[in-house]
Structure formats: structure tokens, C-alpha cells
Symmetry: D3
Subunit: 290 residues, 6 copies
């Protein structure tokens, strides 16, 4: 009987580092070799490949991979038919979202998508833009860009559609954003065949649980503190969720332990301190499964 294996595609490039990190937090030891695309993973039931996120959806669709990680952007661009298992959105880095925006020269007469009729748009995501134009009922020429798209307007294109995190690179090339076409997030995807195989489905679901636990853990922390009994009720009222409370031996003090978003601690800790909490200790979390 053939050995059961789950074929998994890990995205090379901008998503790579984060993906490896959450697999590690999920408890896997993944090793990226200097060359080649076979990733070593310490789970004999998984075969792991490093591939372009642009190509992963296509390989999933064709069954060459059972499971993969890619962005909404390349899933849509590839037009591949895949099943979305879950979102692996990294909630903490609000400020680093991948956005595909439509940009034109600062002094361009193009103010909105409607003004693109008959114009040329340069982009690495041709289908994404064609789709968007179709929805907007605008006819324009979309040209595939082999890179450094932002240098093209106004001479070589009227507009571009490109990824931006902060907009700094666009500004440096005197471009302004006139629309956001897609805010992309990271997805765990599979195909119909794998989803219908009982063993694979269960393996995928367990993996999804661990990966989501790791993603969730990224933004969480544990807090422990000592609270005088007299303040206990007052403090319990504004804690973000019900804590683990234990009475200390022989004293009217309580030991309270809670998991909360790291971001919330910015308001919580000064507040707790003011009310009378002592010995507030915070430590990092690796996974959290609610």
C-alpha cells in the first residue's frame, strides 16, 4: 500500500519568512535549503515544496499539491478552482497589509476608474485588473509588467496596478492612488480531491487548527498579577475576558492570570497598576486555541 503523504506548497518570497515562522510556532521544524525547493519538515506524512505564490493555486487545482498557502491576489489572478480552508491573517501587523492599488501620475487627468477608458495599464496581475475593469464597465489595455511597474507612468503606461504597503514608493515616483482593487490576505487552500479523502481532510483540519493557533498566538500575551481581595471585583469588571483566579495561601490576595491581545496591554496595564495590582508580569504566547 502506498504511503500516505500530504503535498504542501509553501510560498517563496514575501510571504515565506512569515509562513515558516507560523509553521515553527505550530510545532513543526522546517528547514529551507540553500538551493532547491524541497523543504525538510519533521513530519513524515508531509512533503513540502517551496514555490512561487503565483503558481501554488494552479498546482493545487491540478492536484499536484494537496494543500498550499498563497494570497487572495494570486488565487484570483490564477483563476484556479480551489477550496479555501481558512484565513491565516496576521492580525497584529495591521500596518503591513498588502494592497493592490490603481495609481496614476500626480498631475494626471485620470481621477477614477471611469477615466481609464482607452488607456494603458501596466501590472503584474493582468487578470486581476481585467476583472476589475469588467466590473467597472471600462475598456482599457492591460499590459503585463516584468517588474519595477512604478517607473512606467506617464511615458510607458497611463496607470499602473501594483502592490503597496505604505505608499512611500508610489510617492517617490510621483504617483497617486485613485482606487484600491484588492486588500489581499493569506489563505490556506486545498482542492476537491484532497477534501474528499478522509485521511487528508482530517490532517488538513488539524494543521489548520495548529496554524490558526500560531497566528492567534502572534498577537496574544499572558498576564499574571496579584490583586488585593478588596479590589478584586472592581478589576474583574474591565478585564477583557474571564481570568483564571486563584487565592494565595493565607492572605487576602489573589493571583489572576489572563490571556489578552498584546495591544490591549497598552491600556490595561496602566489601569491595573492605578487600581492596585502588583507584580504584573507579562509573557509571550506561541499558540492560542480558544
Amino acid at each position: 500500500m502506498e504511503e500516505k503523504k500530504l503535498k504542501l506548497g509553501i510560498p517563496k518570497g514575501s510571504l515565506q519568512e512569515y509562513t515558516i515562522k507560523i509553521f515553527q510556532s505550530a510545532g513543526f521544524d522546517i528547514n529551507v535549503p540553500e538551493r532547491g525547493y524541497f523543504l525538510k519538515i519533521d513530519d513524515p506524512e508531509i512533503e513540502c515544496f517551496l514555490l512561487r505564490p503565483q503558481e501554488i493555486p494552479r498546482y493545487i487545482e491540478k492536484g499536484k499539491l494537496d494543500l498550499g498557502i498563497s494570497g487572495d491576489d494570486w488565487i484570483l489572478e490564477s483563476k484556479a478552482k480551489i477550496i479555501e480552508v481558512c484565513d491565516l491573517k496576521y492580525a497584529k501587523q495591521e500596518i503591513k497589509k498588502v494592497k493592490w492599488v490603481l495609481a496614476v501620475p500626480e498631475n494626471s487627468k485620470i481621477k477614477s476608474v471611469k477615466d481609464l477608458e482607452g488607456k494603458t495599464i501596466s501590472t503584474e496581475a493582468v487578470n486581476l485588473v481585467k476583472n476589475y475593469l469588467k466590473k467597472s464597465k471600462v475598456k482599457a489595455r492591460v499590459e503585463f509588467s516584468w517588474g519595477t511597474t512604478e517607473v512606467k507612468p506617464p511615458r510607458f503606461a497611463d496607470a499602473i496596478c501594483d502592490i503597496t504597503e505604505t505608499g512611500a514608493s508610489l510617492r517617490a515616483h510621483n504617483l497617486k492612488v485613485i482606487d484600491t482593487i484588492l486588500v489581499s490576505s493569506t489563505k490556506l487552500i486545498t482542492n476537491k480531491q484532497a477534501w474528499q479523502d478522509k485521511w487528508k481532510k482530517e490532517k488538513i483540519k488539524d494543521l489548520a487548527l495548529l496554524l490558526q493557533g500560531a497566528v492567534g498566538g502572534e498577537e496574544m500575551v499572558n498576564i499574571m498579577m496579584h490583586i488585593p481581595g478588596t479590589k478584586l471585583n472592581r478589576i474583574l469588571k474591565f478585564l477583557p475576558k474571564s481570568p483564571t483566579i486563584k487565592k494565595l495561601i493565607g492572605e487576602n490576595w489573589y493571583d489572576i492570570e489572563i490571556s489578552c491581545k498584546e495591544r490591549e496591554t497598552r491600556e490595561l496595564i496602566p489601569k491595573l497598576k492605578r487600581i492596585g495590582a502588583q507584580g504584573i508580569v507579562e509573557w509571550p504566547v506561541m499558540k492560542i486555541v480558544p
Copy 2:
């Protein structure tokens, strides 16, 4: 009504990495862009700039910034009038202290500050050295150095005043230290106007609490262990501070949890082990607020 904003200066250069790290431990997500000096921070009430530590005190004094981080060295050098909110001294890295030392060639006849009368001293911190000479009642010429100060003696200067961590670079240039002018530590600083604005003062104080919590957390760890009831008293005697003690269900064993300096564990853990502690587990801390 104008939106409330706290203008914050983050020091570029040698203090940058550590500063970003403690902001992150304090619960903030800061993003250093590839170019430019606007730092993205996930707190809409803060505007964040990456600036030279030499210039931050000056901008604080003039009210162009409300709050900033810089070293004692550049605060003194700039002669700016500022208010020190708190020290952000990283207690753990004893061995990496920033020291401004007075150095001369190994075979120089200059043995102490007194011998500098009439000599030339090259330094990047001209005011710091002038001040020091004034206190020492020595008259000497202080020249601004545009960098690589340590190569100047004996040909281009009689002495230098420069930063040193380990002294290795000085030794490699055949220089010896004859005095330490300043041991600099990192400070959180503000100005009078900000300190008199109720909203700003509270915001600054909360920030200071979180940052100090993060700085404190750098050198702390949590330790948890199981102790047989018969050894409890003996162990409690030498624990660095009062622990959280919980009796295990149905056994004469206790679960003890304590926060202590990571450095102290080097003696504590072997000792605990010898007396009879079991299952000693240590984990890192992110913030600690006493």
C-alpha cells in the same frame, strides 16, 4: 478641534534597534520604512519620527517634538533644556555600556587631564569635552572630529574623547584611556509645554510605565517548580522575593512560581535542584511592572 497627537522622536543609529525592540515589547507595532523618517506606529495618538540622537534634544527643547529618546551624552552636548521622564537603562547588558573616555597614545607623556593644558583634543562631542575641561580647570583646544577619531593621535591631535564599549578599538590604535568623562545611559525626555498639557502628561506617563516594564522584562524570567511540603520552608528562605505558592491537589507538594532576574537563576537553579525541587521550568518575560 485639532486632533491630539504626541510627537515622538526615535533615535536613529546605535540606539535604534534596542529602542524599536522595547516599544515592541511594550505592545506597539513600529515599522521602520526603507527610506524617509516617518515611522508607522499602530497608535493613532502618536506621530513617530526617526531622527539622530544628537538632534532629538534640540527638537524637544524647541517643541518640535513632545517626547524623545536620546542618550545622556547628546542631551548634555546639545545643551538643550529638557525634562527627564525616566531612565530606560538596559540593566542586563552590563558589558555593553556606552562610555566616553579620554584617550592618548600609549607612549604619551599625558597621564591625566592636568597634562592636557595647551593641547589639542579631537572629539565628536565638543561641548561635553569643553565642560569637562572647565570643571578640571584645564585650558585646551577642542576640535570637532568628523569621524574615525581614534586614528588622529598623535599626529593630528594630542588626545581624543570618544565612545568605547570594550576598548578594543582604542587598543588597536595604540591608545590608552586616562579618564572616563561620561557613562551614558538612555533617557526618555520631554519639555515643559508637553509636561503642562494634562493629556500629554498622562499619555507620556503611561508610555513611560510600559517602556520601563519592557526594559525591566528584558532581564527577568519566570520560574515555576514543584516543592515537597517538607522542604517548603527551607526553600522560601532564600528565594529572592515572595513567590506565588499553590498546594497541589491531594498531595503534600507545592507549586511555586516566581519572577527573578535571569542572572540570578545561575545560582538559584542548581541550589533548588540540590534541595529537592522538581520540574523546574523557566520562561521569558516581556514586561514586568512591580
Copy 3:
């Protein structure tokens, strides 16, 4: 009276990063200077040197060092007489083991060590190979390789003995492995004189305890969860070791805390979740002393 000092050799090169890291987890602050070989360590009783792992066993044997870290490979190669204090094997990175293998060109007629009779073998570990040949009762010429050993066959050597982690480099040079000579692990080593000095022996044993605690901590995590009283027994049955159990105040729920291997969480967490555990939180461990 002379000050007591333990002279410690830290291996430069491939073992360096990991060694520094476990010293840091063990509670020491070690600082690698840009040049030179004196490492600063925040323990005045230790003098710390950065040296080639090939030379550390020799310096231990001669008493120029009291304690050092090196691999089995170089300990054997050096033929130095040393005492092994303990293994510092990093259990987690199963996939990164250092193996010395015997390799020949893919189309070579050499199939096993026996076929090496009269042949030439190139290697950086001449004694290791000579020893192996002696045991195998094979006579062959062993030549010292000054590097890039894998390019030598078939023109400049018939076979090589080299380190491999994944075998990728060997494959890229059209070589195949015909035997594994040694799987090397990292050792803490000392010499007879130090081991007979009471102060040194105790210091070494405490250090070994802390380093092993740090090595163990690398692969462990803490897990905390809430369990309904009705499921408590069922869950306790398959937990890897006996947990710390505390009843929550006023509810039929229990708070369970356990340390386990990070790898085990991959099966444990989905299982616990299915049975009814809630609020599962996992966090990293720095040291663990059983």
C-alpha cells in the same frame, strides 16, 4: 592568592551561534567582539575564548583550557585525552544532524569500504578516516583536504569523507554516500586536572546543569488549559506526564498546566480541543530541569 578562574573554550564556526544561544538561555550574557578571541561574559569566574572546534580538545588535554565545547568528530580527530562532562545534543533539530559520510562518484565501481583498498580518500578529518579504515581492515591512502572536498572525485581522489546535513551538496557534485562514518554530537568536555579541583568540578557541574536545562528548554513548551470537571479523568489519561492541576474558584472547571515537547503539541492540541478543553494557551520555555 590567585583568583579562581575557569578557562572556557567556545567553538568558532558552525557550532558558534547555537553555543552562544544556549549560554544565553542558561542565563549568561556573552558578547562576541568584532575581532579577537576574548569573549566577554558576565561571570567574573569564567574566562572565555573563541577557538576552532578542531583545536579545543587539544587545548583541554594540555590544560590550557579547563572546559570546552566541541563535536565528537574533532574530539576523535585530535586524539586528545579528555573527560566528557555531558552531551549538549539539540534534540529538536533532528533534521540538521552532522554526519561524516564516505562518498564516491555516482558511477564509481566502489560500492563499500572494502572496495577502497589501494585507493585515495580526501578529507579534512584524516585520523577519523584512518581509524575507520583500520577497523574495516582496509588499506588506503588518506589525504588532508584544504577545503571544497566534494569537488575532488573522481579526478583528484577516489572517494571523500565529508560532513553532510542534507546530502544536497554531494548530489550536486554527482556523489553518492556509501557509508556513514560518524554521527557527531556536541559535547561539553574537561580534563583530569580540572575534574580533580573541587572548586572547578562544582562550577563545571553547575554549568552543565544550566546548559542542559537550556538545551532541554529548546524543545519544550508550557501548555495551560481549562478542562470541565466531567472530562478531567479522560484527559489526564493521555497527557504525557502528570500536570499541575488547580480547581477554578466556584466552578466545576480545572486549570491544567503542563510542560511537554513542542513536537507533541501537534497531536495533543487537536485531541484536547476535540474532548472539550478550552482556552488552550502555549508559551515558550527557556530552561527545564527535571
Copy 4:
């Protein structure tokens, strides 16, 4: 009246360094800025852009550029209608030719293009491969590769078409070449409109003369030597072309000067020396116009 300008596209990437170099040898000062795509050139009649070689033919065709440099490969791939002005083939580096080859796994059953029927080929030059298949009357699926094409067979493609210089990378991935689709050389290209504009055509032809002079100069050297009158005829017989001969004042010696390919000197110089030439001096050439 509008200022006359020639819009010139310089290829970014692998051809960039060589292109800049021959422009410099041709007498132009070109300056590649750190960012952006405007190249500064010290000829006010030329406007110079750094663009992907994949896109230059398209921009030439559309008239967005008057003149450009690209390879045969991307000219064919783009299907753009352009006019080839001249070849800029660097004759010296025989060993560095750009070849597009068809490669399959070493143990594949595919032996020639005919065996590709129904298979999948991954490549960055989709049209090039489709064309080739059409000529070979083979039907196969051609997929665009987003990079690292050589890792795809056998799992993600049956064959690839990729650039190779030495074949080393293919071998390292266990691939073998079964056909060469194109040996690409560098071309200077323009379009019909520019070629019909008298001013532009003349400017382009002068530029072509200088660039070809520079390309030719790359592989040429000058040789000067002294020859005794008695050996003159014997030597003249085998010199590669007719030299400049001048009699030295008052002696039966001649001064001979010749330009020849650097490669030819490897045989010429030992021969000349043996016959009796003295004071052979060789120096580099920058341009050569026959």
C-alpha cells in the same frame, strides 16, 4: 519648434552592465541612478531609459522608444514588429553565449521534441516555446514560469525551456538538455517611423557605427614590434592583415604596428619571437572601425 530627441531604451538586468560598457567605449558618459529609470547621458539629443529587455521591443513597436537594445529571445517572445539596425554580438566571450534550451529530467523517457506531445513545459518565454512546438508539429501545454524554472521537473512540469550559459545549474537539478531552441544575441533595434525620419536615421546610423566600433574593439589589441630588415618579408607573410611599416632612422630595422584579435596573439607572439622580432608591445583597443 520641438527639440529633436532620440528616445533610447537600455536593457535592465543581465545585459545592462555590458551595454553601459560599450556605450562608454563608444564615447558616451552614462550614469545609472540608484533608483528610477532615467539614465543620465552626456548627449542632449538622447533621452535614455532603463527598461526590462522583455518590454523594450514592445515600446519600440508602439513608438514610445525610437531605439533600443534587447536580445533576439525577447524580440521574438514579444512578437513586436521592429527593424533590426545591427548586431552587437560580443565576439570575444564565445564561452558565455545565451542559449534557450529544452531540458528534461535525466531519467525521463522524453528524448526529443517529438516525445513532448501532450506534456507540460514550464518557461519564462511562452511564445518562443509555442512557436518552436508549432514548427515541430507537436502539441503540448506551455505554462508561464514565475522563476526558478529549473526546480519544476518532474513534479510540476515534464520539461522546461530556460536560459543556460554553462549548463551547470541544469546538471545540479538533474536535468539534461534535449534541444537548443535559440542562441540569442544582442540587437540594436528601431521602428519604421524613426527609420523614416531623416534626422533620427542618421543619428541612429552614427550611433550604430560607434557601438559596433566599441564591440569590435573589445576583442582587438594593437601590437608594435621591431623587426630586422632581413626577416621582414618572412614575417609579413603570416601577419593577419597588412601592417603599418616604418623604417627606423639609420638602422636596418623596421617598426611594425598592427591591430589583431587578442585571441590571435596567443599564436602570433611566440611565432614572432622565434623568428626574431624584438620589443613586442601589446596594448588595448577601445574602438575599431575597419
Copy 5:
């Protein structure tokens, strides 16, 4: 008797590479060590130091150096009294001139120096700017900038004075140039004492001759061609200067050799070719002394 030595300062940083190169073309072998500031030079009569161009004029003035290379900008900034020996302006790289410009935010109301009254200007060349303001009869505050000056407006300065080559960095920070304060060129400088020492003056003058020869050589080339006797007069008319003409043995052809600016060849070569020159060969020049 003391050995005669000329103490020479070579500028570290942006001028360094070019300076080393012209010394090499001038026939000197200079070796920049990895650290330290002593440059090895193969002339025992010269002692050579690598120093900041900002500090070289000051050391020349004080007699700590006899000779040095620096830019007009730092000579003026330092206010040092020095003697200018000659200009070492690199004529070829017209497009890389160092300009100190006054820049303000693109949307600033400041249109010319007059609008700076009462404003703050940030710059690394404080004296240069103060001088310029004095001449313009404008009173403004000039602040020393510790670097990345271009990020300061509008928040931390109203205007800046900074170096620019292409203006790209200014545009990227939304700044526009409102005036050029100085176009700086590279100077060979000495002091009065050295100039009055006969030995030093002669050594300096010879060095200046060689360096100027090397600078001149940078932009020159040699051209040699064959001309039919019938075209000789026509061609001689437009050659940039009188050539070396030699009649070829036994033919009505002439060998013509000329040195001219590399830039001129761009027009000369096509012209010569059209008239009937053959075998045009161009080669590089290292030094040219008219």
C-alpha cells in the same frame, strides 16, 4: 640630517576612489589598508594619510600636512588659509558635478533666498550657508545637521542646504531647489611653509604635473587611421589639433595619429569614415601633458 618627507592628505569618502585612481594613473602604487589611516605609497619621500575632506584644509593650514586634496566646499567651510596648487577637475563626468543647493518643500512659500529671513536652515556646511546669507543680506538661523538632511523640511527646518548630483533624492523627499550656493570642484592644496621650502615646492609641482596629466588623460583617447593621399588635406582641416603624420612605405597612404577628447570621437569617427579613412583604431590614454 632629517629625512625629507612630504606629508600628504587623501580624502576619505566620496572623493576617495577617484583620488586613488588618478594617483595610480599618475604612476603611484597606493594601497588602502583595511583599517587605520596610513596609506602605503611606493614613494619613500611621501607620507600618506587618509583623512576626512572636512578636516584636510585645517591640517594643511596648521602645517600638520604639506599637501592635500579636498573640495572647494570643505575648504570654504573650514575657513582655513591655504594655497591652491591646481584644480583636479574631472572634465569627463560633467554629469556628476557636486552642487550645494538650497532646497525647500515643493509647496513652500519660500521662493528665493530673500524669503528665508527669520527661518531655520539645516545643513552640514554651516559656515558656507552663513556666508551665503551674509552676502544675500538675509538673517536666518543655520543649524548643523548630523545627516539625512533632506528629511528635515518642513517639520524640523524651513529649508536645507545639501549636496546633490542629480536631484533625485531631493525630489523623492518633495523638495525643490531654489538656489545653487556652490558648484564644488576638487583642489590640490598646500600651505605657505611648504611652498617656501624649495625641495617641497618642486616635489609638489612635479606631483601636480603628473596628477593633472592623469586627470587630463581620463577624458582623452588616441586615434590612429590610414588616409589616402588624395583626402589628406580635406581631413587635416577639421582634426581638432595637428596630428602626427607618417607616409606609409611605397603607397600613397598616410598613417595619422592624434590625441583627442573621447567625447569628440563621437562626431569625428563617423565623419572620418565617410570621407575615406580606413582602419580607424582608438585606444585609451593614461596621462597627457600638453
Copy 6:
């Protein structure tokens, strides 16, 4: 019949860049691949390998190579029996000579080789040092150093023998040189078998002629100038060797061309200029065969 091939070893590492460069000046196109040790060379009669200079003599001796380049140091160290074809000493870079020196701590009591009796010397060239000690009739322990030899004294060795160019690294480690064991130069070497093969010997001798021509060319330049007839005799007297003199057509001026060492031009050019030479032009030389 077997194809004739010359097997050539090129030294990897510090001699590599220079060796490749003189092969290129000699008229060969050599291409160093990113990995592997086969060098592509555009001469089908040569097979070219990149190997450690330490191992090349050994492979020559055994006949695995016919010809190779290595230094005197490794030729001696390897004890290989080889034939020296010629020296490839780069005369220009006097200041970069490879010297093996004996060094001890600055404050050591060891003043000369005699004081080494019974001491320990660390070195990468064990045989070289043993030989030297034998000649000096001193008995000492010589230990192989695996690198960074200069850090070993005084703790891990009493003295070292290491390579130095400028002595800077030794000084930085507080070492002083007490003797120079070897000044190494680069050699072209072969073995008896190759030297007895007529075809190989001729091929080697031609190669040696071209390589020596290229080495010689490195330090030579060509000078051309115009001299008034009245000064001709005076100038001819001090020219370093007899020049090529041609009378200009119809004028009492002479065109003089000479090859000389670049170094000599430093005195020659100012002298010629003073006497009355005009239009002095200097250009580089690639090869020179006297």
C-alpha cells in the same frame, strides 16, 4: 588517438584574482563558474581546474595536473617534487609581497629563533617551520593551526608563523616580528613527465612566454612625445632604453615612442617637459616581450 590536453591548476583564494587577470592579459578568456572547480577556457587544448594552492604542487607531482600556479610557500610546504618553469612575480606591487614571518607577543622574552628552544609555534605551514627550525638547529613543537593564528599567543602558543602583507594585523594583536622565514613569489610549475612530452613542453613554453609578457605588461606603459630637433640628443641621453624615433613630415620635430616602467614616468615626464618635449601621451600596455 587520444586528444592532446594540458591539465592546468589555477589557485583558488588569494592568488586567484591576479592569476585570472594575467591569463586574460595573455589573451585567454577564462570563466570562473559560481560553483564547481572546472574553469571554462577558450583553448580546447587546455583543461582548467580551480584548486587550493596548497594542493596544486601535490597534484602536479602525482601527474594529476601537467601545469599549475602556486606560491613558493605551498610548494615547499607540500614537499612535492616539481619543476619550476618560470616566476610570475608581479613587480609593480612591491608593497604587497607575501611574507611568512615569525612573530611573538610584544612583551615576550623571545628575541630570536634561538629562544624558541622547547617552545610551541602555531602555523598553517608546519613543514615550512620545521625546516626552518632544523636549519636553525632549534628544537620546538610546531602545531598545525586551523586559522586565525594571530590570536593564539601568548596563551595557546609561544610564537606563530603566519603570512603578513603590512604587519597591521600582527600589530593589532600585540605581536612583533622576530624573523622572516620566507618571501614567497608566484611560480608556474610542471612535472617531469609533462616536461619530457614534446607537445606539452612546447605548449607550456608558449604559455610561459605569454604569461610573462602579461606580467611584464602590468608595470609598463607606452610614452609618445614630440621633440624639437635641437633637443633630440640631450633627451636621448637619459631615456631608459633606445626609443623608436620618426621624423615628422616637413618639420624639424621628431616623434619619439618608448616603453618604460610606469614608475619611471614619475621622474621622466617632469624632466622631459622641462627640456622641451610636447604632447606627451602615455597609454597602458597589456603584454611586453623583450
